[in-house]
């Protein structure tokens, strides 16, 4: 019997081709480009993105979340197909799927924060310890982004699980629309609307939780756990007749 962690690695490996392409275009490139813009290069989008403090981070986070949505949505069917030919239980498939999303979330958080840190040149940091562990520096921001991405992943997992159980094509069509709204807004040039949600989450966490990032991370993880339990109840009912009939 193959364990859940190995199956999680299998899931990432099986989807490696388009995951890497998506990772490059939606995770690495935007962060590099936005940090580069931040260094003083003029661009038509600059004002839109940096209309508020920390705008580039919000924008990169939105794209990362959207990348996770694509990964969750498109890998779900192919993974479950592959796993069902090898008689993997739904419980194990679900656990593996979440582990793979967790790994991906951690990778995204690390990648974005490393790029940001490399380009940011934090001149105002007094010590390496403060740089790594300080309230608004590397580890804290990685943990923050990681927890945000885990929450997003679990929400997408819940969404995909429900979507898989819906047979009515009209309901399915309505369900497909919301995740693509940010994309429409991005191409329509309305960046501020796209990043508004993330900004509100950040503002809420900073104001309501007295600026305590760990409290906020805990809140995110609790929300993620609730989402996971909810999606698990849907995954448990997954049946191959969804694809056959």
């Amino acid at each position: 019997m193959r364990n859940s962690f190995k199956i999680a690695i299998d899931i990432l490996y099986l989807n490696r081709a388009w995951t890497l392409i998506g990772y490059f275009f939606l995770v690495i490139s935007p962060m590099v480009a936005l940090v580069y813009l931040d260094m003083g290069v003029s661009n038509a989008y600059r004002d839109a993105v940096f209309v508020v403090e920390g705008g580039k981070e919000y924008f990169a986070e939105v794209l990362s979340i959207w990348f996770l949505l694509l990964f969750t949505f498109f890998s779900f069917g192919t993974n479950i197909d592959f796993m069902r030919v090898f008689n993997v239980t739904r419980k194990k498939f679900f656990a593996s799927y979440m582990i793979s999303l967790g790994i991906l979330s951690l990778l995204i958080a690390l990648t974005q924060k490393i790029i940001n840190t490399v380009f940011a040149s934090p001149n105002f940091v007094y010590s390496m310890y403060e740089f790594i562990y300080g309230d608004y520096f590397f580890v804290t921001s990685v943990v923050w982004l990681f927890s945000l991405l885990v929450l997003a992943s679990s929400l997408f997992c819940l969404y995909t699980s429900i979507f898989s159980g819906v047979k009515d094509p009209i309901v399915r069509l309505f369900m497909v629309v919301p995740p693509f709204l940010p994309l429409v807004l991005i191409f329509s040039g309305d960046f501020s609307s796209v990043i508004l949600f993330i900004m509100q989450v950040r503002t809420f966490s900073e104001n309501r939780l007295a600026g305590n990032p760990y409290l906020m991370v805990s809140l995110f993880l609790i929300s993620a756990t609730i989402c996971l339990f909810a999606s698990h109840s849907f995954v448990k009912k997954l049946s191959i007749d969804i694809w056959q009939h």
Binding site: M1, K6, L14, F82, R84, F86, N87, K237, I240, D241
Partner: protein
């Protein structure tokens, strides 16, 4: 030993289509079963239920006394050769051999490669490049080399030519004799599987109508042929199914044990008695 028990299982799709209707049967270990039925009889649904791919509306399925639902250990002991293509189409055959080895530790790579050579399956080809027949061969090879305790085949000879079908059944018997296991072959090409299976399960319109050894099943009927009036006389007070009448000649299947056949009367009436073939008997009872 892993006995599979299907207890009062019903599967209803979309609250209107009853695919399996109150099915109960016992699959003994280390025997070859033939799951026979017409198109849409419920064969694939029954196999999907046994392997926990779908859930029964009613009833339960156990292996070695344990419910099969979400049972990792039991499911790992089964290999299900599915009729549908669920494998990634862009993956090469040899890659899928390696993937199968990851999930079935007893998968025999050398045997799989030898079988691929024997069936002339190019393992460097991608799944989408294989013809329907070769896709079946590829899945058959995975199942044969899996060395799982329970192997289920759903239409294993779909799209195979006569030579390959013959090769497959020979290989199945060889594999079984070397490493005995529980095998269930679901098919509607009955004449070829007749010499392979020990037990027969016949499903018709979702109901299990027969579950017995092939020997007992075949001895439950016999065929008579002769002049129409003579045959009619023989058939008086007997349960029978008329198969065909050609001119004055009439052929009928008598639904009673071979032991009860009246050879003396048949001789007097100049009627020929013969054993019934599995396929003919199947056609007769599922009409």
């Amino acid at each position: 030993m892993n006995t599979i028990k299907v207890k009062g299982v019903t599967k209803i799709y979309d609250s209107k289509t009853t695919a399996v209707d109150d099915a109960s049967l016992t699959i003994e270990p280390n025997k070859i079963y033939g799951l026979l039925g017409r198109n849409g009889a419920g064969k694939t649904t029954l196999l999907n239920l046994m392997t926990d791919k779908i859930f029964p509306t009613e009833g339960e399925i156990t292996i070695a006394g344990l419910n099969v639902n979400e049972n990792d250990k039991m499911l790992a002991s089964m290999f299900y050769m599915m009729q549908t293509d669920a494998y990634p189409l862009s993956m090469k055959v040899k890659e899928l051999f390696k993937w199968t080895k990851k999930f079935y530790v007893h998968f025999d790579m050398d045997y799989a490669s030898a079988l691929a050579k024997k069936f002339q399956l190019d393992i460097t080809k991608k799944i989408h490049e294989l013809s329907t027949g070769y896709r079946s061969i590829f899945k058959d090879i995975l199942a044969l080399a899996s060395n799982a305790e329970i192997v289920l085949f759903d239409e294993p000879v779909l799209g195979l030519d006569t030579n390959h079908r013959d090769m497959f059944y020979r290989e199945l018997i060889k594999n079984y004799s070397q490493k005995p296991k529980t095998i269930i072959v679901s098919t509607h090409i009955i004449d070829e599987v007749a010499d392979v299976i020990e037990e027969v399960i016949i499903i018709n319109k979702g109901k299990i109508i027969r579950e017995q050894s092939v020997e007992n099943f075949l001895s439950s009927a016999y065929v008579i042929a002769g002049r129409e009036d003579k045959v009619d006389k023989y058939l008086e007070n007997r349960e029978f199914i008329i198969e065909e009448t050609i001119g004055a000649l009439k052929i009928a299947t008598v639904m009673e044990s071979e032991k009860n056949k009246n050879e003396k009367l048949a001789k007097e009436l100049n009627i020929e008695l013969s054993n019934v073939e599995l396929q003919k008997l199947f056609i007769t009872i599922t009409r």
